[in-house]
Amino acid sequence: MRISENMLIDSMRGSLAANREQLVDAQNTLASGKRLNRPSDDPAAAEQILGFRGQIASLAQYRRNIQKGSARMAVTDASLESVRGLLQDARNLAQEQSGGTFDDQTRAAALEAARHIYDQVMDMANSRYGDQYLFGGHRSDGPPASRDDAYNATWSGDEGDVRIAIGANTSVSLNSGGRNPFRNADGTLVFDTLKNVIDGLAGGDAALVAAQVGTLDQAVERIKAVQGADAIVAERLAATDTQWQHLQNHYESLLADTENADMNQAAVDLMTRQTAYEAALTATSRVVGQSLLDFLK
């Protein structure tokens, strides 16, 4: 084979450039820690990465939703727990006052206690989480319960269902589908019942007080039921959160596998390519610039 000057130079130049490019690629991989430095390095992986990142971000968002929902449910549960205790107290008080021991002194004390309970229950009904009123349904911007001086209660909340998204196309209700724990089965408010107790005590009407015991029992049971239903939702939230956490870890490791370089391999590659490049440089420096000219006098 006849080797001309250009063939020699071109082949040297070509292999030097190729070696150098490989060396720079290896350096990039090692420096960035990523296998993909341009989408075209691996188009399929570039597409997959977007999917993984999307999944991870969505799961993080669900978990953020769940965190907020769980916090809200915890506050709700604490409020309802107090309400249940207060209503239980009111029921016991009504039971006592409807019995034989009905004298002015105990009645005055009981009236005081009943008024106190009324206001405490109302405070609880106006509990807030952040700037949202918990029991107002969708009218979450103002206190849902209020009363006048004569203990006539007004409920300005609605039965709006408060939901959070916990997955793609999946949401859960945080307030039992808008169910209002302060409303009796017949549509009256628990405050109306308490007002009857107060009115009965104030007017010495033992029969009216006695008539409220049953309703208050029902109210306590109802709050229990709401708490029970909420507990199931809270458990579901916790379980979903754990599940998403697992999935998030899973996607994160998939992402890392797809996107990150095997550092050991990259370091070995760098060494190998460095050696190859040095060898090419040495070979080039030996061969280029030599001709018969060097040996002619």
Binding site: E5, N6, E47, Q61, V162
Partner: protein
């Protein structure tokens, strides 16, 4: 018997011919690095013998011609390969620029903006009355719109740069076609005078190769001239070049019967072909980006108009009127100036706690609304990114592969036509010695004549 003067004649022819040899060697050495140069060789033959006793006596030496060492079939193959290589080189450069726009290997691409947009709706659903959530949503939506607009503008920029590059390539084509036509004339003149126009032919071959790297031209040699045609129209006909021009999106060329149109689809290779291919790809990517933007605009607007804001306003579009594509997507100015108009609540819900609409809009992220209702917005964009990356990779791989084929062909060509310094040095020494010997012959004859003159 030959005369002494005859010997002088032999010496003279030898001196002249060896000098020609040295001159050609020098020319070869001088052009060792000239692209497209073919090494030349002097063809020698012995001079016309003269009749004499005891037999014909040699008449010295003569140089018959100077030949270029050239393989014309290899030349045609290199021209074809130039077209492929030119195409992939141009397509690669165009696609690499497009790929940067769709680069999602970092964590700050359109994908990121899309997620933040959908998640801002979910955050709003968690606290539909919150003013922080509302202004967050507005700013994420603006960021998304800005990103769409930036990407659209960047792709459009690349498209118009590609047009400029096509225009430049076309003027290169015309320049080279003109030079080829001029060389056709000079080569014909030289051949008519019995000269071998080696260097002119090398230059013309090189020009045809360069022209091939620009477009899918076909060249045919006919006698002393090379004719070039593109898509069946003559670009160089004998000694005339016809002007090609780029009339975006197509091309036109002057012919004897007036201007003719060459469809862009007919230019399939060479740099112009590569730029056109990259341009087509860019158009496709832009169209898909626009589809994505339009899908988001339509679906979000439809749901948004059905909900109600904190001020009970309803029927309002979330994206501004006139938002139809990635180029002009923008958030409704009424919402930007008053985020309480964002319709988080469903039509039948109370405000501010109603969040059904915000939740429904946030849920659009997971619905198959693109690509004939088979892909989510995210998946649709991911497949666009995958395609951009795939095309860029194909172009880069093809470029590498065609480069190595080209190198191989060039190497074959150089094996025949390339200059070897070693070889030329040997030739130089050989001619130099012959020249010295011829000079010695003349001086010997001179001495002999001197002896003859001084006889007696």
């Amino acid at each position: 018997m030959s005369s002494l003067f005859n010997i002088l004649g032999i010496g003279r022819s030898a001196l002249q011919v060896q000098q020609t040899g040295i001159s050609v060697t020098g020319h070869n050495i001088a052009n060792v690095n000239t692209p497209g140069y073919s090494r030349q060789r002097v063809d020698l033959t012995s001079g016309e013998p003269v009749a004499a006793t005891p037999g014909q006596m040699g008449g010295g030496v003569q140089a018959v011609s100077v030949q270029r060492m050239h393989d014309r079939f290899l030349g045609a193959q290199i021209d074809g390969q130039s077209q492929e290589l030119g195409k992939w080189e141009a397509e690669k450069s165009g696609l690499e620029r497009l790929q940067i726009i769709f680069d999602e290997t970092g964590e700050t691409g359109l994908n990121h903006n899309l997620q933040e947009f959908w998640h801002a709706w979910q955050d709003l659903a968690n606290n539909p009355g919150g003013s922080v959530e509302r202004s967050q949503l507005v700013s994420k939506s603006q960021a998304l719109s800005d990103r769409f607009q930036q990407m659209s503008a960047a792709v459009t920029d690349v498209q118009s740069d590609l047009d400029t590059q096509i225009g430049q390539a076309v003027s290169d084509i015309n320049d080279k076609a003109g030079q080829i036509a001029a060389l056709n004339r000079r080569i014909r003149q030289a051949e008519n005078m019995g000269q071998a126009p080696n260097d002119l032919k090398d230059r013309r071959d090189q020009l045809v190769k360069e022209l091939s790297s620009l477009a899918n031209v076909s060249a045919s040699e006919s006698g002393p001239v090379v004719n070039i045609s593109i898509d069946g129209h003559a670009l160089v006909d004998d000694e005339t070049a016809y002007a090609l021009s780029y009339t975006n999106p197509d091309f036109s060329i002057q012919t004897s019967g007036g201007p003719a149109v060459i469809a862009a689809s007919a230019i399939t290779s060479g740099k112009v072909g590569g730029y056109l291919a990259a341009k087509t790809d860019g158009q496709d990517y832009l169209a898909r980006l626009n589809d994505l933007a339009a899908g988001i605009i339509d679906n979000v607007n439809t749901l948004h108009a059905g909900g109600q804001g904190l001020d009970h306003s309803t029927g309002l579009d979330f994206f501004a009127a006139g938002s139809t594509s990635a180029a002009n997507i923008a958030v409704n100015p009424a919402i930007v100036s008053d985020p309480s108009k964002i319709a988080a609540a469903g039509a039948a819900e109370d405000v501010p706690g109603g969040a059904a609409n915000a939740m429904a809009i946030g849920n659009l992220e997971f619905q198959d609304l693109m690509n004939g209702n088979t892909a989510t917005f995210g998946a649709y964009y991911a497949s666009l990114v995958g395609d951009v990356a795939g095309s860029a990779k194909t172009a880069a791989d093809q470029f590498d592969q065609n480069t190595s084929v080209m190198n191989q062909l060039e190497s074959y060509r150089d094996e025949v036509s390339g200059v070897s310094i070693d070889e030329e040095m040997v030739n130089l020494v050989q001619f130099q010695h012959a020249y010295a010997a011829a000079a010695k012959l003349i001086s010997a004859t001179d001495e002999m004549l001197d002896v003859l003159m001084n006889m007696g």
